[in-house]
Symmetry: C2
Subunit: 292 residues, 2 copies
Amino acid sequence: MTAVSIREVAPRDGLQNEEPIAADDKVRLIDALSGTGVRRIEAVSFVHPKAIPQMADADDVWARAWHNPDVRYSALIPNKRGAERAIAAGFGEIEVVVSASDTHNRRNLNRSTDETLDEITAMIPLVHASGATLEVIVATSFGCPFEGDIDPDRVASIVERVRADGADRTAFGDTTGMATPRRVRDLLSSVRPELLHFHNTRGTGLANVLTALELGVREFDASVGGIGGCPYAPGASGNIATEELVHMLEDMGITTGVDLESLLDVAAMAEKMLGRTLPSGVLRAGPRTRLV
Amino acid sequence: MTAVSIREVAPRDGLQNEEPIAADDKVRLIDALSGTGVRRIEAVSFVHPKAIPQMADADDVWARAWHNPDVRYSALIPNKRGAERAIAAGFGEIEVVVSASDTHNRRNLNRSTDETLDEITAMIPLVHASGATLEVIVATSFGCPFEGDIDPDRVASIVERVRADGADRTAFGDTTGMATPRRVRDLLSSVRPELLHFHNTRGTGLANVLTALELGVREFDASVGGIGGCPYAPGASGNIATEELVHMLEDMGITTGVDLESLLDVAAMAEKMLGRTLPSGVLRAGPRTRLV
Protein backbone atom coordinates (compact mmCIF):
# COMPACT_ATOMS: atom_id res chain seq x y z
CA MET A 1 0.00 0.00 0.00
CA THR A 2 1.35 3.44 -0.88
CA ALA A 3 -1.41 6.00 -0.30
CA VAL A 4 -4.34 6.79 1.94
CA SER A 5 -6.92 9.50 1.30
CA ILE A 6 -7.85 11.54 4.37
CA ARG A 7 -10.98 13.67 4.56
CA GLU A 8 -10.54 16.50 7.04
CA VAL A 9 -13.82 16.96 8.90
CA ALA A 10 -13.01 19.61 11.54
CA PRO A 11 -14.88 22.47 9.82
CA ARG A 12 -18.15 20.50 9.80
CA ASP A 13 -18.21 17.43 12.05
CA GLY A 14 -15.65 18.93 14.42
CA LEU A 15 -17.19 22.37 14.88
CA GLN A 16 -20.71 20.97 15.03
CA ASN A 17 -19.73 19.33 18.32
CA GLU A 18 -18.02 22.38 19.86
CA GLU A 19 -19.26 25.69 21.23
CA PRO A 20 -20.19 27.95 18.28
CA ILE A 21 -17.40 30.13 16.85
CA ALA A 22 -17.52 33.16 14.52
CA ALA A 23 -17.98 32.76 10.76
CA ASP A 24 -14.63 34.52 10.25
CA ASP A 25 -12.90 31.86 12.31
CA LYS A 26 -14.61 29.09 10.34
CA VAL A 27 -13.37 30.64 7.10
CA ARG A 28 -9.87 30.93 8.56
CA LEU A 29 -9.96 27.26 9.56
CA ILE A 30 -11.09 26.05 6.13
CA ASP A 31 -8.53 28.28 4.39
CA ALA A 32 -5.68 27.11 6.61
CA LEU A 33 -6.62 23.45 6.13
CA SER A 34 -6.87 23.99 2.37
CA GLY A 35 -3.16 24.87 2.39
CA THR A 36 -1.90 21.79 4.25
CA GLY A 37 -1.92 19.40 1.30
CA VAL A 38 -5.00 17.55 2.57
CA ARG A 39 -7.04 16.56 -0.48
CA ARG A 40 -10.56 16.50 0.92
CA ILE A 41 -12.39 18.71 3.39
CA GLU A 42 -15.91 18.34 4.78
CA ALA A 43 -16.62 22.07 4.82
CA VAL A 44 -20.15 22.67 6.12
CA SER A 45 -23.55 21.11 6.65
CA PHE A 46 -26.86 22.49 5.43
CA VAL A 47 -29.10 21.79 8.39
CA HIS A 48 -31.85 23.71 10.11
CA PRO A 49 -30.24 26.49 12.22
CA LYS A 50 -32.51 25.62 15.15
CA ALA A 51 -31.28 22.02 15.13
CA ILE A 52 -27.57 22.87 14.72
CA PRO A 53 -26.84 26.53 15.47
CA GLN A 54 -23.13 25.91 14.85
CA MET A 55 -23.85 25.60 11.11
CA ALA A 56 -26.39 28.44 10.75
CA ASP A 57 -23.90 30.47 8.70
CA ALA A 58 -22.96 27.67 6.29
CA ASP A 59 -23.80 29.62 3.12
CA ASP A 60 -21.85 32.65 4.25
CA VAL A 61 -18.83 30.60 5.39
CA TRP A 62 -18.68 28.62 2.19
CA ALA A 63 -19.08 31.71 -0.02
CA ARG A 64 -16.07 33.32 1.62
CA ALA A 65 -13.82 30.30 2.07
CA TRP A 66 -10.93 29.45 -0.24
CA HIS A 67 -12.01 26.93 -2.87
CA ASN A 68 -8.60 25.43 -3.56
CA PRO A 69 -8.87 23.61 -6.92
CA ASP A 70 -6.59 20.85 -5.56
CA VAL A 71 -9.02 20.07 -2.73
CA ARG A 72 -12.34 18.24 -2.94
CA TYR A 73 -14.90 19.90 -0.64
CA SER A 74 -18.05 18.21 0.59
CA ALA A 75 -21.18 19.18 2.49
CA LEU A 76 -23.38 17.12 4.78
CA ILE A 77 -27.14 17.37 4.40
CA PRO A 78 -30.01 15.85 6.45
CA ASN A 79 -32.79 15.90 3.82
CA LYS A 80 -33.98 17.08 0.38
CA ARG A 81 -34.07 20.73 1.44
CA GLY A 82 -30.43 20.45 2.56
CA ALA A 83 -29.50 18.77 -0.71
CA GLU A 84 -31.04 21.64 -2.66
CA ARG A 85 -29.05 24.15 -0.60
CA ALA A 86 -25.79 22.21 -1.09
CA ILE A 87 -26.39 22.02 -4.84
CA ALA A 88 -27.21 25.74 -5.00
CA ALA A 89 -23.97 26.46 -3.12
CA GLY A 90 -22.09 24.55 -5.81
CA PHE A 91 -20.98 21.43 -3.92
CA GLY A 92 -19.91 18.52 -6.09
CA GLU A 93 -19.80 16.04 -3.20
CA ILE A 94 -22.75 15.62 -0.86
CA GLU A 95 -23.08 13.36 2.18
CA VAL A 96 -26.20 12.10 3.89
CA VAL A 97 -26.54 10.06 7.09
CA VAL A 98 -28.71 7.09 7.91
CA SER A 99 -28.35 5.12 11.11
CA ALA A 100 -28.10 1.34 11.13
CA SER A 101 -29.84 1.45 14.50
CA ASP A 102 -33.52 2.22 14.20
CA THR A 103 -33.60 3.68 17.72
CA HIS A 104 -30.69 5.98 16.97
CA ASN A 105 -32.19 7.02 13.63
CA ARG A 106 -35.46 7.93 15.35
CA ARG A 107 -33.65 9.95 18.04
CA ASN A 108 -31.45 11.66 15.47
CA LEU A 109 -33.86 12.18 12.56
CA ASN A 110 -37.26 11.51 14.08
CA ARG A 111 -38.13 8.70 11.68
CA SER A 112 -37.26 5.05 11.11
CA THR A 113 -34.19 3.82 9.26
CA ASP A 114 -36.43 2.62 6.43
CA GLU A 115 -38.12 6.01 6.13
CA THR A 116 -34.72 7.73 5.88
CA LEU A 117 -33.64 5.18 3.27
CA ASP A 118 -36.74 6.04 1.23
CA GLU A 119 -35.82 9.73 1.39
CA ILE A 120 -32.29 8.91 0.23
CA THR A 121 -33.68 6.92 -2.68
CA ALA A 122 -35.72 9.96 -3.73
CA MET A 123 -32.74 12.29 -3.25
CA ILE A 124 -30.24 10.48 -5.47
CA PRO A 125 -31.68 11.59 -8.87
CA LEU A 126 -31.82 15.19 -7.63
CA VAL A 127 -28.16 15.12 -6.60
CA HIS A 128 -27.07 13.37 -9.79
CA ALA A 129 -29.02 15.84 -11.95
CA SER A 130 -26.79 18.61 -10.54
CA GLY A 131 -23.67 16.65 -11.44
CA ALA A 132 -22.81 15.99 -7.79
CA THR A 133 -22.16 12.65 -6.10
CA LEU A 134 -23.91 11.31 -3.01
CA GLU A 135 -22.15 9.48 -0.20
CA VAL A 136 -24.30 7.59 2.28
CA ILE A 137 -22.81 7.50 5.78
CA VAL A 138 -24.15 4.60 7.82
CA ALA A 139 -24.09 5.84 11.42
CA THR A 140 -23.79 3.50 14.46
CA SER A 141 -22.27 0.87 12.15
CA PHE A 142 -20.03 -0.40 14.97
CA GLY A 143 -22.59 -0.17 17.72
CA CYS A 144 -25.44 1.96 19.04
CA PRO A 145 -25.50 3.58 22.47
CA PHE A 146 -29.17 2.56 22.81
CA GLU A 147 -29.30 -0.84 21.10
CA GLY A 148 -25.73 -2.07 21.64
CA ASP A 149 -24.06 -4.21 18.98
CA ILE A 150 -25.40 -3.91 15.46
CA ASP A 151 -25.63 -7.04 13.31
CA PRO A 152 -23.16 -6.71 10.40
CA ASP A 153 -25.87 -8.16 8.16
CA ARG A 154 -28.06 -5.15 8.89
CA VAL A 155 -25.30 -2.75 7.85
CA ALA A 156 -24.64 -4.88 4.76
CA SER A 157 -28.29 -4.76 3.72
CA ILE A 158 -28.35 -0.95 4.01
CA VAL A 159 -25.22 -0.73 1.85
CA GLU A 160 -26.73 -3.11 -0.67
CA ARG A 161 -29.91 -1.06 -0.89
CA VAL A 162 -28.30 2.37 -1.30
CA ARG A 163 -25.82 1.04 -3.85
CA ALA A 164 -28.69 -0.45 -5.83
CA ASP A 165 -30.45 2.91 -5.61
CA GLY A 166 -27.44 4.63 -7.18
CA ALA A 167 -25.49 6.01 -4.21
CA ASP A 168 -21.97 6.79 -5.38
CA ARG A 169 -20.17 5.97 -2.17
CA THR A 170 -20.73 4.55 1.32
CA ALA A 171 -19.06 5.30 4.63
CA PHE A 172 -19.37 3.73 8.07
CA GLY A 173 -19.62 6.06 11.05
CA ASP A 174 -18.37 5.03 14.49
CA THR A 175 -20.85 7.48 15.93
CA THR A 176 -20.20 7.09 19.64
CA GLY A 177 -16.79 5.45 19.56
CA MET A 178 -17.88 1.83 19.92
CA ALA A 179 -15.58 0.51 17.18
CA THR A 180 -12.72 -1.73 18.27
CA PRO A 181 -10.28 -3.77 16.17
CA ARG A 182 -12.47 -6.83 16.75
CA ARG A 183 -15.68 -5.04 15.62
CA VAL A 184 -13.91 -3.56 12.59
CA ARG A 185 -12.80 -7.04 11.56
CA ASP A 186 -16.26 -8.49 12.15
CA LEU A 187 -18.09 -5.84 10.10
CA LEU A 188 -15.58 -5.46 7.28
CA SER A 189 -15.56 -9.20 6.74
CA SER A 190 -19.24 -8.83 5.77
CA VAL A 191 -19.21 -5.55 3.89
CA ARG A 192 -16.60 -2.92 3.02
CA PRO A 193 -17.41 0.77 2.56
CA GLU A 194 -15.31 3.25 0.61
CA LEU A 195 -14.54 5.30 3.72
CA LEU A 196 -14.39 4.89 7.48
CA HIS A 197 -15.12 7.49 10.12
CA PHE A 198 -13.66 6.36 13.44
CA HIS A 199 -13.68 8.04 16.81
CA ASN A 200 -11.01 7.80 19.48
CA THR A 201 -13.50 7.88 22.35
CA ARG A 202 -12.13 4.72 23.98
CA GLY A 203 -8.51 4.92 22.78
CA THR A 204 -8.79 2.54 19.84
CA GLY A 205 -8.90 5.13 17.02
CA LEU A 206 -5.57 4.34 15.37
CA ALA A 207 -5.80 0.63 16.20
CA ASN A 208 -9.09 0.60 14.29
CA VAL A 209 -7.44 2.32 11.33
CA LEU A 210 -4.62 -0.22 11.38
CA THR A 211 -7.12 -3.07 11.28
CA ALA A 212 -9.11 -1.44 8.46
CA LEU A 213 -5.95 -0.87 6.42
CA GLU A 214 -5.21 -4.60 6.65
CA LEU A 215 -8.71 -5.26 5.36
CA GLY A 216 -8.29 -2.97 2.36
CA VAL A 217 -9.94 0.35 3.28
CA ARG A 218 -7.98 3.34 1.99
CA GLU A 219 -10.10 6.37 2.97
CA PHE A 220 -10.52 7.78 6.46
CA ASP A 221 -12.10 10.79 8.12
CA ALA A 222 -10.13 12.71 10.74
CA SER A 223 -10.37 16.08 12.46
CA VAL A 224 -7.41 18.42 13.02
CA GLY A 225 -6.57 18.60 16.73
CA GLY A 226 -9.20 15.95 17.38
CA ILE A 227 -11.80 18.74 17.30
CA GLY A 228 -15.28 17.43 17.91
CA GLY A 229 -15.49 16.35 21.51
CA CYS A 230 -17.40 13.37 22.70
CA PRO A 231 -21.16 13.05 22.99
CA TYR A 232 -20.81 11.62 26.50
CA ALA A 233 -18.37 13.66 28.45
CA PRO A 234 -16.68 17.04 28.29
CA GLY A 235 -12.94 16.66 27.88
CA ALA A 236 -13.16 13.26 26.26
CA SER A 237 -11.94 12.84 22.71
CA GLY A 238 -14.24 12.17 19.80
CA ASN A 239 -12.73 12.29 16.35
CA ILE A 240 -9.32 10.90 15.50
CA ALA A 241 -6.84 13.80 15.36
CA THR A 242 -5.71 14.23 11.75
CA GLU A 243 -2.13 14.88 12.80
CA GLU A 244 -2.03 11.60 14.78
CA LEU A 245 -3.33 9.73 11.73
CA VAL A 246 -0.89 11.42 9.34
CA HIS A 247 1.95 10.87 11.80
CA MET A 248 1.31 7.12 12.01
CA LEU A 249 0.66 6.62 8.29
CA GLU A 250 3.61 8.62 6.97
CA ASP A 251 5.88 6.73 9.40
CA MET A 252 4.61 3.53 7.75
CA GLY A 253 5.61 4.91 4.34
CA ILE A 254 1.99 5.56 3.38
CA THR A 255 1.51 8.86 1.53
CA THR A 256 -1.30 11.19 2.65
CA GLY A 257 -0.32 14.35 0.77
CA VAL A 258 -0.52 16.26 4.06
CA ASP A 259 2.40 18.34 5.29
CA LEU A 260 2.50 17.44 9.00
CA GLU A 261 4.17 20.65 10.16
CA SER A 262 1.57 22.79 8.34
CA LEU A 263 -1.18 20.69 9.86
CA LEU A 264 0.28 21.14 13.36
CA ASP A 265 0.24 24.91 12.81
CA VAL A 266 -3.47 24.67 11.98
CA ALA A 267 -4.08 22.52 15.07
CA ALA A 268 -2.37 25.14 17.26
CA MET A 269 -4.48 27.87 15.61
CA ALA A 270 -7.66 25.85 16.15
CA GLU A 271 -6.79 25.33 19.80
CA LYS A 272 -6.59 29.11 20.31
CA MET A 273 -9.79 29.62 18.33
CA LEU A 274 -11.73 27.15 20.48
CA GLY A 275 -10.10 28.18 23.74
CA ARG A 276 -9.65 24.63 25.01
CA THR A 277 -6.85 22.08 25.10
CA LEU A 278 -7.44 19.73 22.19
CA PRO A 279 -6.98 15.96 22.63
CA SER A 280 -4.06 15.51 20.24
CA GLY A 281 -0.89 13.81 21.38
CA VAL A 282 1.13 14.82 18.34
CA LEU A 283 0.08 18.45 18.89
CA ARG A 284 1.30 18.22 22.50
CA ALA A 285 4.50 16.24 22.05
CA GLY A 286 5.38 16.95 18.41
CA PRO A 287 6.18 14.26 15.84
CA ARG A 288 8.57 11.50 16.92
CA THR A 289 11.17 12.93 14.53
CA ARG A 290 11.34 16.22 16.49
CA LEU A 291 14.35 15.66 18.73
CA VAL A 292 15.52 17.57 21.78
CA MET B 1 -4.41 -16.42 21.33
CA THR B 2 -6.43 -16.63 24.53
CA ALA B 3 -4.58 -14.68 27.21
CA VAL B 4 -2.41 -11.62 27.76
CA SER B 5 -0.56 -10.81 30.96
CA ILE B 6 -0.77 -7.18 32.04
CA ARG B 7 1.61 -5.62 34.54
CA GLU B 8 -0.01 -2.66 36.27
CA VAL B 9 2.64 0.05 36.71
CA ALA B 10 0.71 3.00 38.15
CA PRO B 11 2.04 2.65 41.73
CA ARG B 12 5.65 2.96 40.53
CA ASP B 13 6.08 4.24 36.95
CA GLY B 14 2.86 6.19 37.06
CA LEU B 15 3.31 7.94 40.42
CA GLN B 16 6.99 8.59 39.72
CA ASN B 17 5.86 10.95 36.96
CA GLU B 18 3.18 12.76 38.95
CA GLU B 19 3.23 15.26 41.80
CA PRO B 20 4.08 13.40 45.06
CA ILE B 21 1.16 11.94 47.01
CA ALA B 22 0.94 10.64 50.59
CA ALA B 23 2.16 7.16 51.52
CA ASP B 24 -1.35 6.30 52.70
CA ASP B 25 -2.69 7.03 49.22
CA LYS B 26 0.00 4.89 47.62
CA VAL B 27 -0.95 2.00 49.90
CA ARG B 28 -4.63 2.54 49.03
CA LEU B 29 -3.79 2.47 45.32
CA ILE B 30 -1.76 -0.75 45.54
CA ASP B 31 -4.43 -2.40 47.68
CA ALA B 32 -7.24 -1.41 45.34
CA LEU B 33 -5.32 -2.61 42.28
CA SER B 34 -4.53 -5.88 44.05
CA GLY B 35 -8.26 -6.59 44.14
CA THR B 36 -9.02 -6.02 40.45
CA GLY B 37 -7.83 -9.38 39.19
CA VAL B 38 -4.66 -7.94 37.64
CA ARG B 39 -1.93 -10.50 38.11
CA ARG B 40 1.17 -8.32 38.28
CA ILE B 41 1.87 -4.94 39.87
CA GLU B 42 5.04 -2.87 39.73
CA ALA B 43 4.74 -1.62 43.29
CA VAL B 44 7.68 0.65 44.08
CA SER B 45 11.22 1.59 43.11
CA PHE B 46 14.22 1.70 45.41
CA VAL B 47 15.99 4.82 44.22
CA HIS B 48 17.77 7.66 45.97
CA PRO B 49 15.14 9.95 47.53
CA LYS B 50 16.96 13.03 46.20
CA ALA B 51 16.71 11.71 42.63
CA ILE B 52 13.05 10.59 42.87
CA PRO B 53 11.28 12.11 45.89
CA GLN B 54 8.04 10.41 44.81
CA MET B 55 9.51 7.03 45.87
CA ALA B 56 11.24 8.14 49.09
CA ASP B 57 8.76 6.15 51.19
CA ALA B 58 9.03 2.92 49.19
CA ASP B 59 9.94 0.73 52.19
CA ASP B 60 7.08 2.09 54.27
CA VAL B 61 4.54 1.80 51.45
CA TRP B 62 5.52 -1.73 50.61
CA ALA B 63 5.52 -2.82 54.27
CA ARG B 64 1.94 -1.63 54.67
CA ALA B 65 0.48 -2.66 51.28
CA TRP B 66 -1.60 -5.77 50.71
CA HIS B 67 0.56 -8.62 49.44
CA ASN B 68 -2.15 -10.54 47.64
CA PRO B 69 -0.81 -14.08 47.09
CA ASP B 70 -2.52 -14.15 43.66
CA VAL B 71 -0.54 -11.10 42.47
CA ARG B 72 3.14 -10.96 41.47
CA TYR B 73 4.68 -7.72 42.74
CA SER B 74 7.89 -6.23 41.36
CA ALA B 75 10.25 -3.40 42.24
CA LEU B 76 12.43 -1.27 39.99
CA ILE B 77 16.00 -0.61 41.06
CA PRO B 78 18.72 1.59 39.52
CA ASN B 79 21.84 -0.08 40.95
CA LYS B 80 23.31 -2.64 43.37
CA ARG B 81 22.26 -0.64 46.43
CA GLY B 82 18.68 -0.61 45.11
CA ALA B 83 18.83 -4.34 44.44
CA GLU B 84 19.92 -4.96 48.02
CA ARG B 85 16.99 -2.88 49.32
CA ALA B 86 14.50 -4.69 47.05
CA ILE B 87 15.81 -8.07 48.23
CA ALA B 88 15.67 -6.99 51.88
CA ALA B 89 12.06 -5.88 51.32
CA GLY B 90 11.28 -9.38 50.07
CA PHE B 91 10.64 -8.79 46.36
CA GLY B 92 10.82 -11.87 44.16
CA GLU B 93 10.81 -9.89 40.91
CA ILE B 94 13.27 -7.08 40.32
CA GLU B 95 13.61 -4.79 37.30
CA VAL B 96 16.57 -2.75 36.17
CA VAL B 97 16.82 -0.26 33.30
CA VAL B 98 19.51 0.26 30.68
CA SER B 99 19.04 2.59 27.75
CA ALA B 100 19.78 1.51 24.19
CA SER B 101 20.76 5.12 23.52
CA ASP B 102 24.13 5.99 25.01
CA THR B 103 23.16 9.68 25.23
CA HIS B 104 19.95 8.84 27.07
CA ASN B 105 21.73 6.43 29.41
CA ARG B 106 24.29 9.12 30.30
CA ARG B 107 21.56 11.70 30.96
CA ASN B 108 19.50 9.23 32.96
CA LEU B 109 22.18 7.28 34.84
CA ASN B 110 25.31 9.40 34.36
CA ARG B 111 27.25 6.60 32.70
CA SER B 112 27.52 4.84 29.35
CA THR B 113 25.25 2.03 28.23
CA ASP B 114 28.23 -0.36 28.46
CA GLU B 115 29.01 0.72 32.02
CA THR B 116 25.40 0.08 33.04
CA LEU B 117 25.49 -3.31 31.33
CA ASP B 118 28.60 -4.17 33.38
CA GLU B 119 26.75 -3.23 36.57
CA ILE B 120 23.84 -5.44 35.54
CA THR B 121 26.21 -8.33 34.90
CA ALA B 122 27.54 -7.96 38.43
CA MET B 123 24.04 -7.63 39.89
CA ILE B 124 22.56 -10.84 38.45
CA PRO B 125 24.27 -13.31 40.85
CA LEU B 126 23.25 -11.15 43.81
CA VAL B 127 19.60 -11.14 42.73
CA HIS B 128 19.62 -14.85 41.95
CA ALA B 129 21.23 -15.68 45.29
CA SER B 130 18.15 -14.19 46.97
CA GLY B 131 15.86 -16.36 44.87
CA ALA B 132 14.52 -13.38 42.92
CA THR B 133 14.44 -12.90 39.15
CA LEU B 134 15.88 -9.95 37.24
CA GLU B 135 14.14 -8.30 34.30
CA VAL B 136 16.23 -5.96 32.15
CA ILE B 137 14.18 -3.12 30.66
CA VAL B 138 15.82 -1.67 27.54
CA ALA B 139 14.76 1.98 27.51
CA THR B 140 14.51 4.07 24.31
CA SER B 141 14.20 0.82 22.31
CA PHE B 142 11.86 2.53 19.81
CA GLY B 143 13.71 5.82 19.59
CA CYS B 144 15.62 8.33 21.69
CA PRO B 145 14.61 11.98 22.10
CA PHE B 146 18.28 12.96 21.73
CA GLU B 147 19.61 10.47 19.15
CA GLY B 148 16.44 9.72 17.16
CA ASP B 149 15.89 6.24 15.73
CA ILE B 150 17.77 3.39 17.41
CA ASP B 151 19.17 0.60 15.26
CA PRO B 152 17.30 -2.64 16.05
CA ASP B 153 20.66 -4.42 15.93
CA ARG B 154 21.82 -2.35 18.89
CA VAL B 155 18.78 -3.38 20.92
CA ALA B 156 19.28 -6.99 19.84
CA SER B 157 22.90 -6.98 20.97
CA ILE B 158 21.92 -5.65 24.41
CA VAL B 159 19.31 -8.40 24.74
CA GLU B 160 21.82 -11.01 23.63
CA ARG B 161 24.35 -9.83 26.21
CA VAL B 162 22.02 -9.69 29.22
CA ARG B 163 20.49 -13.05 28.36
CA ALA B 164 23.97 -14.55 28.15
CA ASP B 165 24.73 -12.98 31.54
CA GLY B 166 21.73 -14.74 33.05
CA ALA B 167 18.96 -12.09 33.01
CA ASP B 168 15.64 -13.88 33.46
CA ARG B 169 13.54 -11.59 31.31
CA THR B 170 13.80 -8.60 28.98
CA ALA B 171 11.39 -5.74 28.28
CA PHE B 172 11.46 -2.91 25.75
CA GLY B 173 10.55 0.55 26.98
CA ASP B 174 8.99 3.13 24.69
CA THR B 175 10.46 5.76 26.97
CA THR B 176 9.22 8.93 25.28
CA GLY B 177 6.40 7.54 23.13
CA MET B 178 8.31 7.17 19.86
CA ALA B 179 6.99 3.67 19.09
CA THR B 180 4.65 3.33 16.13
CA PRO B 181 3.27 0.20 14.48
CA ARG B 182 6.02 0.46 11.86
CA ARG B 183 8.82 0.74 14.49
CA VAL B 184 7.31 -2.12 16.52
CA ARG B 185 7.34 -4.31 13.43
CA ASP B 186 10.90 -3.26 12.53
CA LEU B 187 12.31 -3.97 15.99
CA LEU B 188 10.37 -7.13 16.81
CA SER B 189 11.41 -8.65 13.50
CA SER B 190 14.99 -8.50 14.84
CA VAL B 191 14.48 -9.36 18.48
CA ARG B 192 11.50 -10.13 20.71
CA PRO B 193 11.40 -9.34 24.42
CA GLU B 194 9.14 -11.01 26.98
CA LEU B 195 7.30 -7.76 27.72
CA LEU B 196 6.56 -4.41 26.08
CA HIS B 197 6.08 -1.08 27.80
CA PHE B 198 4.38 1.32 25.38
CA HIS B 199 3.32 4.91 25.85
CA ASN B 200 0.35 6.62 24.26
CA THR B 201 2.14 9.95 23.87
CA ARG B 202 1.35 10.23 20.16
CA GLY B 203 -1.90 8.26 20.06
CA THR B 204 -0.46 4.94 18.86
CA GLY B 205 -0.50 3.07 22.19
CA LEU B 206 -3.13 0.47 21.37
CA ALA B 207 -2.11 0.30 17.70
CA ASN B 208 1.36 -0.64 18.93
CA VAL B 209 -0.10 -3.34 21.16
CA LEU B 210 -2.11 -4.72 18.26
CA THR B 211 1.01 -4.95 16.13
CA ALA B 212 3.00 -6.59 18.91
CA LEU B 213 0.23 -9.14 19.52
CA GLU B 214 0.44 -10.14 15.86
CA LEU B 215 4.18 -10.61 16.31
CA GLY B 216 3.74 -12.86 19.32
CA VAL B 217 4.29 -10.70 22.42
CA ARG B 218 1.90 -11.59 25.25
CA GLU B 219 2.95 -9.31 28.14
CA PHE B 220 2.33 -5.56 28.38
CA ASP B 221 2.74 -2.80 30.93
CA ALA B 222 -0.11 -0.36 31.47
CA SER B 223 -1.07 2.20 34.10
CA VAL B 224 -4.57 2.61 35.53
CA GLY B 225 -6.11 5.88 34.33
CA GLY B 226 -3.05 6.45 32.14
CA ILE B 227 -1.30 7.81 35.26
CA GLY B 228 2.23 8.88 34.50
CA GLY B 229 2.00 11.98 32.36
CA CYS B 230 4.35 12.75 29.57
CA PRO B 231 7.94 13.92 29.89
CA TYR B 232 7.32 16.67 27.33
CA ALA B 233 4.10 18.41 28.10
CA PRO B 234 1.68 18.75 30.98
CA GLY B 235 -1.71 17.32 30.10
CA ALA B 236 -0.32 14.97 27.48
CA SER B 237 -0.69 11.26 28.04
CA GLY B 238 2.22 8.97 28.79
CA ASN B 239 1.41 5.41 29.76
CA ILE B 240 -1.30 3.35 28.12
CA ALA B 241 -4.36 3.36 30.38
CA THR B 242 -4.86 -0.16 31.74
CA GLU B 243 -8.64 0.07 31.32
CA GLU B 244 -8.27 0.98 27.62
CA LEU B 245 -5.98 -2.01 27.12
CA VAL B 246 -8.27 -4.40 29.02
CA HIS B 247 -11.30 -3.01 27.16
CA MET B 248 -9.74 -3.67 23.74
CA LEU B 249 -8.30 -7.08 24.62
CA GLU B 250 -11.37 -8.51 26.33
CA ASP B 251 -13.49 -7.36 23.37
CA MET B 252 -11.13 -9.44 21.18
CA GLY B 253 -11.82 -12.46 23.38
CA ILE B 254 -8.38 -12.26 24.98
CA THR B 255 -8.43 -12.95 28.72
CA THR B 256 -6.58 -10.58 31.05
CA GLY B 257 -7.96 -11.70 34.40
CA VAL B 258 -8.88 -8.09 35.15
CA ASP B 259 -12.42 -7.10 36.13
CA LEU B 260 -12.97 -3.95 34.07
CA GLU B 261 -15.59 -2.42 36.35
CA SER B 262 -13.35 -2.84 39.42
CA LEU B 263 -10.48 -1.31 37.49
CA LEU B 264 -12.63 1.68 36.50
CA ASP B 265 -13.46 2.21 40.18
CA VAL B 266 -9.72 2.33 40.92
CA ALA B 267 -9.18 4.77 38.04
CA ALA B 268 -11.89 7.07 39.43
CA MET B 269 -10.29 6.85 42.87
CA ALA B 270 -6.84 7.60 41.44
CA GLU B 271 -8.22 10.63 39.61
CA LYS B 272 -9.48 12.07 42.89
CA MET B 273 -6.21 11.21 44.62
CA LEU B 274 -4.13 13.04 42.02
CA GLY B 275 -6.59 15.89 41.56
CA ARG B 276 -6.29 15.99 37.80
CA THR B 277 -8.32 14.65 34.88
CA LEU B 278 -6.61 11.45 33.76
CA PRO B 279 -6.18 10.71 30.04
CA SER B 280 -8.36 7.61 29.85
CA GLY B 281 -11.15 7.40 27.31
CA VAL B 282 -12.76 4.34 28.87
CA LEU B 283 -12.79 6.11 32.25
CA ARG B 284 -14.57 9.08 30.62
CA ALA B 285 -17.01 7.29 28.34
CA GLY B 286 -17.33 3.90 30.02
CA PRO B 287 -16.94 0.57 28.22
CA ARG B 288 -18.66 0.20 24.84
CA THR B 289 -21.05 -2.27 26.45
CA ARG B 290 -22.42 0.37 28.85
CA LEU B 291 -25.57 1.53 27.03
CA VAL B 292 -27.74 4.59 27.58
